[in-house]
């Protein structure tokens, strides 16, 4: 085996490196560079502009935690808008619910979808469900034309630099608010509280969302391949509270198989460390 290593700078002075068996794919799309690698420790993984998006071995954590909390709070969710998520992992988790009628998945870069279909079939299988409708479009442009349409919006964005930047603005969250129905929930990947630059992004996102949504809470998960391993998600809504309105029993009766998520962990994930609460409260 070649002595080949993929490295990612979590900060300018912290580097995370993974030994690679082989680079399976590389291209420059109209929006970003797209690579797929095969690694010993994490299986295959996808990078966009040199940043790891998902690995076969820990993507289940991210995808379960960005989907199931909202579904367990409102069992009436039927229509979902997913922004980003070109790997199909979010769609795969949503498709586990029989009551779902429609999933609109808006991805700006068609090449991400095609590459994931070819190299990451365990996540891209989410596209196979007939209820999932893919539109290749700018997420901000799409959502600003919509009103009172979706029960749930999931923002599975890249970091707030490059193509993903607009998905962290107050303007965008305002459009999401209007695109949601009365019981609507917005879930977004919310960066990390640990390294200062990531923490500033988390703080800024929380400030913008809190200005738009009456309910705005943050929850956490352990995602080993993301910077610091400590990742946040936002749960914002017009009415429903992420723990007060949790339908534990109903969700448990559904018998949905998960490897990370459960309804006890759901409650636990909203119990944040003091330093994280401080970052968010001083947003």
């Amino acid at each position: 085996m070649d002595d080949l290593w993929y490295s990612e700078y979590h900060t300018k002075s912290v580097r995370f490196s993974i030994q690679i068996r082989q680079q399976l794919h590389f291209e420059k799309s109209n929006y970003q560079t797209i690579s797929v690698f095969d690694s010993v420790e994490f299986g295959r993984f996808l990078t966009l502009d040199g940043v790891m998006m998902l690995t076969e071995h820990d993507e289940f954590i991210y995808h379960e935690m960005i989907v199931h909390p909202a579904m367990a709070v409102n069992p009436e969710i039927k229509s979902v808008l997913v922004i980003g998520a070109g790997d199909g992992g979010v769609a795969r988790e949503i498709a586990k619910y029989s009551q779902i009628e429609n999933v609109d998945l808006i991805e700006i870069d068609e090449r991400v979808i095609e590459v994931c279909k070819e190299y990451l079939p365990k996540t891209a299988c989410g596209f196979e469900d007939p209820r999932v409708h893919v539109r290749i479009q700018d997420g901000l442009k799409f959502v600003r034309r919509i009103e009172n349409t979706y029960d749930l919006i999931i923002v599975d964005s890249t970091d707030p630099f490059g193509p993903g930047e607009v998905l962290f603005t107050k303007e965008f969250y305002g459009h999401c608010f209007h695109a949601l129905k009365e019981n609507g929930i917005l879930i977004n990947q919310h960066e990390s509280p640990f390294y200062p630059e990531d923490a500033r992004a988390a703080s800024s996102a929380h400030r913008c969302i809190s200005q738009v949504f009456p309910v705005s809470e943050v929850f956490q998960a352990h995602i080993p391949t993301y910077p610091s391993g400590h990742w946040l998600f936002g749960f914002a809504s017009k009415k429903l509270h992420p723990t007060a309105n949790l339908q534990d029993e109903h969700w448990n009766q559904l018998g949905i198989e998960t490897r990370y998520y459960n309804t006890q962990l759901h409650r636990g994930a909203f119990c944040l460390p003091n330093y994280v609460k401080e970052i968010l409260n001083h947003a």
Copy 2:
């Protein structure tokens, strides 16, 4: 600045690297190599045998989580045995409680204590409290002579390889059981559930502890500089349950300042992901 990097292999094919301003100390003690580095991102940090023990920037998470959960469950804890913990961080957190009468701290390697006193005063300040009594001794040898003496034992060990190995055996946990009083609690650092080798250590520790203690639970924390960032701790006891017996109100009235721990997070930390529960249940 020299382009100097400290690297640690979290597995054979996963490497975590930190840029270093300067190596402040290096020695070979009778037990292990001891280094202290100054880094841009994490401040100063200590390594033993090439493994990071603590950094100035995230040690608060580890030390708060290994001390406060037990203290919040039993406000009557007066006498504590700490095994390992030569950096002083555990002693510092315990010393925040006025009811504590005696802390016996058993460290096998005197040089760790001396080096921490010189280079890591923010953690080593724990040794200054007059209730803390340091004994340079083998933890296993010390604890096996003791009966019905301590309210709390904290095992702040290195990984289960090298000098720390005996602190992960059923024999050792059995001696801890006998050294504890009727309401006694044992807390130990419990490795990580994510990478397979760490998960095997966590599984094995849980199996051994569960064979000895009637109550044996596991809780988690986000510790960015430890492998995968997902770290476990064990809470074992003769009687008291970590959440059913949690004295939330009492602890909150103490006004103890923490940056990670709070009593809501305490409950949340015991809500484990499914895959972690599986590792522990099949121990």
